[in-house]
């Protein structure tokens, strides 16, 4: 056969795709000492940002912090290459504070490529993978195992794990009205072969769609008609390992303008020329990241929509028109953009377009991101039906970690919904019935008060440390931080101050009500208007030198929101009880009395790992869950009896 003449190269892991998922996956594997090859259609497109020029934002900022806490690269990379940074939602509670930074796109990509190129055990290969090679099962479980990949030249890379991160490249089509090109994002060459491979191996792919707005020549815009959006004066880093001093840069502004009735009229008059409404696009688009056509149709009563003008980089005059993604024909785009104040004379550099691509139904994956059907085959990123750079990177990191764990014969890292946004992301993708690109949102996290962006290190460093991506020193720092937070919280609860005249005067100067009776400093800190720093004059035994802000911030949150945190913790306890009720992989759901037919089939197909996961599968009702609980209770009783008899 052909393989006789093929040139063979030995490695441990093959990562297919060099986007945000592929980069994290390849870095995780190689950093853990496994030889890794990253395949990309084009080395120049590694870590490319073909859509928006920012990292983070509501809930996505949380993902980046979590990636960093686990030992991923995205946070460090954006800290090195940002143009502007803001902490969003500062007026709201700490759970929804969210970091967002504008990136210099070219720098972001270049900098990430440099990190990959300096990484031992990691090589980059520009090639299209045409085949994933399997061998017959060795173990008794009857599953085929990954043993290599073949690239378009015929060369074979023998390996033990494959991580598929093809993003939006597989059989991609880009649409600008009636003009359709068979290209990947940003005009890159698309890939085609793996679609057929997945179909031939019992995992038919589905078609999703997403879109992006136009890029314009910044010189053609009139900024005097827009509101300026500056970055924060004091920039908070994404990465726990970034020195905040390196962030004191000359930031670039963004600009805010609005669509108007005229814009909407043009869109409505031409809606039949939109590929989506004309039925040319087969793929399903994201509801939560709608095109301007979708917004005009769905929010017909709204007279205007936000449009943000964002810089694409320091060494380009291109700007990104956030809020107006579209797949309208070029002539409609030209007229529609020109109705927006400040864009009257705009010059389009790159058109807005919609892109359709093949992706997998993540229900075919385990929570470890390994496919249920093939041993050693992992999938991550937009290929799994997500959308967004951050969602992709998070999956890439977890797939990389779990590919390594599998080779090491260890249990996979599965983060719970109660531990991380990453846990929510992967559980949703793998368990729920997603019919459109999945975007992270704060509302998807049930326990978000515990999953704050400010405590990602306290939540997740231990997992990064356990798998070897976090150093001893970094881990010790988290332990120290945790201890100091507890000590200081306890101290503030203990120190009591009286209603003496001196104290009342201080309180008055802080703009807060006087004391009626003595109270603890912690009780005072519960007043919304008071902060940790304010209490210094009332606090005789405050640690000297002062505790760092990363500690006092946690102390303040712990004390101020104690009641809410406690109640959320109780919710988590309840939730985790069902998560801990594990379901054996070999259960015979098809003959389980009491389950409805639909539930039998869904459970048979999914093979959920716990009752908790089972309860989130669509088509499984609470009554079915009750049946599963009874079943477990019954078998537990029988097992107990069986043991008693022996």
């Amino acid at each position: 056969m052909q393989s006789d003449r093929s040139y063979h190269i030995q490695t441990d892991v093959c990562v297919i795709g060099g986007g945000h998922a592929g980069c994290e996956a390849a870095l995780a594997c190689s950093r853990l000492g496994f030889d890794t090859v990253l395949f990309t259609m084009n080395v120049d497109s590694i870590a490319m940002m073909p859509c928006n020029p920012h990292i983070g934002g509501s809930s996505k900022g949380h993902l980046v912090r979590e990636i960093d806490a686990l030992g991923g690269e995205m946070g460090r990379n954006i800290d090195k290459t940002f143009l502007q940074s803001r902490m969003l939602n500062r007026s709201k509670g700490p759970a929804v504070h969210s970091l967002r930074a504008q990136a210099d796109k070219a720098e972001y990509s270049r900098s990430m490529r440099q990190v990959l190129q300096q990484q031992p055990h990691l090589t980059i290969r520009q090639a299209e993978v045409t085949d994933i090679l399997l061998r017959e099962p060795e173990n008794g479980d009857g599953k085929k195992q990954v043993c290599g990949v073949r690239i378009h030249t015929g060369t074979v890379y023998d390996c033990r794990s494959v991580i598929v991160c093809t993003g939006t490249y597989l059989k991609a089509r880009c649409l600008v009205g009636e003009s359709i090109t068979e290209t990947g994002p940003g005009g890159m060459q698309r890939s085609t072969f793996l679609s057929d491979w997945f179909a031939a191996n019992g995992m038919p792919l589905r078609r999703f769609k997403t879109g992006t707005p136009a890029r314009m020549d910044g010189r053609s815009l009139d900024y005097s008609k827009m509101e300026i959006q500056e970055g924060d004066r004091k920039v908070v880093p994404f990465s726990y390992s970034t020195d905040p001093k390196t962030l004191e840069i000359d930031q670039m502004p963004c600009w805010l303008t609005y669509t108007n009735q005229e814009t909407h009229d043009i869109i409505r008059a031409n809606i039949d020329r939109s590929p989506i409404y004309a039925g040319i696009i087969e793929g399903t688009g994201p509801r939560y990241c709608p095109s301007i056509e979708d917004k005009v149709v769905k929010f017909a009563e709204k007279t205007r929509h936000h449009v943000f003008i964002e810089p694409e980089g320091r060494y380009t005059n291109e700007v990104y028109v956030d809020g107006m993604s579209s797949s309208m024909p070029d002539d409609v785009q030209q007229r529609m953009y020109r109705t927006v104040p400040g864009l009257e004379n705009c010059v389009i550099v790159r058109n807005a377009y919609a892109i359709e691509y093949d992706c997998i139904n993540a229900n075919l994956l385990k929570l470890s991101l390994e496919t249920k059907a093939v041993d050693g085959l992992f999938c991550a990123g937009q290929f799994n039906g997500s959308s967004g750079y951050e969602e992709a990177a998070a999956q890439g990191l977890i797939a990389g970690i779990n590919a390594v764990k599998k080779m090491q014969g260890k249990e996979p890292l599965v983060l719970k919904r109660s531990e991380a946004y990453i846990g929510v992301l992967i559980d949703d993708l793998v368990t729920k019935d997603n019919r459109e690109p999945y975007r992270m949102m704060t509302s998807r996290a049930e326990y978000r008060l515990l999953l704050r962006q400010d405590n990602a290190d306290l939540r997740l460093r231990k997992y990064g440390y356990d798998c070897g991506l976090i150093t001893e020193e970094q881990y010790q720092h988290v332990l120290y931080k945790q201890e100091e937070i507890e000590k200081e919280t306890a101290r503030l609860k203990k120190i009591r101050i009286g209603a003496a005249a001196g104290n009342q005067k201080i309180l008055e100067s802080l703009g807060t009500a006087p004391l009626k009776t003595a109270c603890s400093l912690a009780e005072l800190l519960c007043r919304p208007e008071l902060h940790y720093e304010d209490l210094a004059p009332l606090d005789p035994t405050r640690p000297d030198p002062a505790l760092p802000e990363e500690i006092t911030e946690q102390v303040e949150i712990q004390i101020k929101y104690e009641g809410y945190i406690e109640r959320q913790n109780r919710q988590v306890e309840q939730f985790e009880k069902l998560e801990r009720r594990y379901l054996p992989e070999t259960l015979d759901y098809l003959h389980m009395a009491g389950l409805r037919l639909e539930a039998q089939q869904k459970l048979h197909q999914f093979r959920p790992s716990s009752i908790g996961q089972a309860s989130r599968i669509s088509g499984v009702t609470p009554a079915d869950v009750a049946v599963l609980l009874i079943y477990l209770e019954k078998t537990r009783g029988e097992n107990r009896e069986a043991t008693d008899r022996h």
């Binding site: 007026s91 929010f299 949102m441 704060t442 008060l449 009720r581």
Partner: protein
């Protein structure tokens, strides 16, 4: 064969089970339900239509159109007709239990009913455990948990009125009300989340005030449900009635009169002390859960403190106090002591009826004298005359109890009643959670905090409907299913 031994089989999920499905009563009309794969065969073994009986042949019930009810006879082992019945046939899954079901409506009274059941069991059915039909219905997806529990209440309901309410709950009145509340909460949760994720299209300006108004209405509605829960308990368990009075006022004879009148002592539960005895008795269509206190007596000039304490303790959880006075004797020190306690309890909202007993003797006590007691200057009990010995005044007592407890309101209206401890607790939890949200609004906390407690309320209400399943829930429910009929 001993019925209990039969019930103690091993693998039971595919058993055919049978039991008397309606409460046994002297009226003698009752249904024997057979549910499971052998139901039709067992029914066919015992049943003969008039024609089949004449022709001396067997008739396969399983061949009938499902949902058919037919007249006929039940034969015993010797082929003798033992009862005229109506027999109905329901095929899985279109039956209450979702399994093949045969129901035999008997007419011949308690003895015959038991005889028919024995015959059914002798043909291979197993005696159903209490609530097992409902358990099958629940597992078959036929009913939700709230309905399942309402059925359990029905099984344990002790009086006719309780049965009526159980029926209305069964029809889903409670489910509907809770479902409405829950849908509203879900809407608000979704709104807050949308506003957090998409502030451009969903504004939170003025939202806290709007939400507070909604929550004010919802907490009031939940409060009503919980008050209904007390009424629900009265329906389910009976009116907790404490008899007070000094020794020899006639408490025992009244008790005997009440109990003897209907010969309906259902249970005897020894109280926590040997001096307190609880009895469930039936008074017309009311069920009283009677607690007889040992009596408050004086030795010399001193009132025995221990007797007062016991009586107070018994009165703590009472719905109704019955104060027995000896109408043949003038008021004593003990009566004044009791009057003081009556006053305290009435001020807590507990109803009281004073009974001037021994009207058959020479009466030396008037209603006016009782009402003139200084202890009763602010709140006076209803005062009635009766004779426990002759039965005079007992009907009036029944009427007074109905009046006092607004029994007609409780029993007759269709207000939703939360019965069952689990429902009460869940409703209380939801109420507390919504109050916490109102507290957050008042404290000016950011909107993203509201969702924690809103979600708790949503989940608590979900537990009433069985739409939110928690780890311990099923165990809890089925331990209830296994309680007595």
């Amino acid at each position: 064969m001993n019925i209990r031994e039969q019930a103690a089989g091993t693998d039971r999920s595919e058993d055919t089970i049978a039991a008397i499905a309606t409460a046994m009563s002297e009226a003698g009309i009752g249904i024997i339900r057979i549910s499971g794969p052998e139901a039709a065969r067992i029914g066919s073994d015992l049943y003969r239509s008039p024609k089949a009986l004449r022709e001396g042949r067997r008739e396969e019930i399983g061949a009938w159109t499902p949902g058919t009810i037919r007249f006929g006879y039940i034969l015993d082992e010797n082929g003798e007709v033992i009862d005229e019945v109506m027999l109905s046939w329901m095929k899985a899954p279109h039956s209450y239990t979702t399994r093949d079901t045969v129901e035999i409506n008997t007419h011949g009274g308690l003895f015959v009913m038991q005889r028919v059941l024995e015959l059914v069991l002798s043909r291979g059915a197993r005696l159903a455990e209490p609530g097992e039909f409902t358990k099958q219905a629940f597992l078959g997806g036929r009913i939700d948990l709230a309905r399942a529990e309402a059925v359990m209440d029905l099984i344990s309901a002790q009086s006719e009125f309780a049965r009526k309410t159980s029926m209305s709950q069964l029809r889903g009145a409670l489910s509907e009300k809770v479902r409405d509340l829950r849908a509203e909460i879900l809407y608000e949760l979704a709104y807050i989340e949308s506003a957090l994720d998409d502030p451009e299209n969903y504004s939170l300006d003025g939202y806290p005030e709007r939400l507070d108004a909604i929550l004010e209405r919802q907490t009031a509605a939940l409060g009503d449900l919980l008050r209904g829960a007390r009424d629900g308990r009265i329906l389910q368990e009976g009116i907790r009635t404490v008899i007070l009075g000094r020794p020899n006022a006639g408490k025992s004879s009244l008790l005997n009169r009440l109990a003897g009148e209907e010969r309906a002592i259902v249970t005897e539960i020894p109280g926590t002390t040997r001096d307190i005895l609880r009895e469930r008795i039936r008074l017309g269509d009311l069920v009283l859960l009677l607690t007889d206190t040992a009596g408050i007596r004086s030795t010399g000039d001193v009132i025995e403190e221990i007797g007062v304490q016991r009586a107070r303790k018994a009165a703590e959880e009472a719905d109704l106090l019955l104060w027995i006075l000896d109408a043949a004797q003038p008021l004593t020190e003990e009566d004044h002591e009791i009057a003081g306690m009556i006053r305290d309890k009435m001020q807590e909202g507990i109803r009281c009826i004073a009974l001037m007993n021994k009207q058959d003797l020479e009466v030396r006590l008037t209603k006016e004298q009782i009402l003139a007691m200084p202890e009763l200057s602010e709140c006076a009990p209803v005062v009635l005359s009766c004779s426990a010995r002759t039965g005079e005044g007992i009907d009036a007592l029944q009427e007074a109890i109905r009046d006092q407890l607004h029994a007609d309101r409780i029993f007759m209206n269709s207000e939703v009643l939360l019965t069952g401890i689990r429902h009460r607790e869940a409703a209380q939890e939801a109420l507390t959670a919504l109050q916490l949200v109102r507290g957050s609004i008042a404290a000016g906390v950011s909107e993203d905090f509201y969702t924690i407690d809103l979600m708790n309320a949503y989940k608590a209400l979900g537990r009433i409907l069985g739409e939110d399943v928690e780890d311990d829930l099923v165990e809890e429910i089925f331990s209830k299913f296994c309680m007595g009929k």
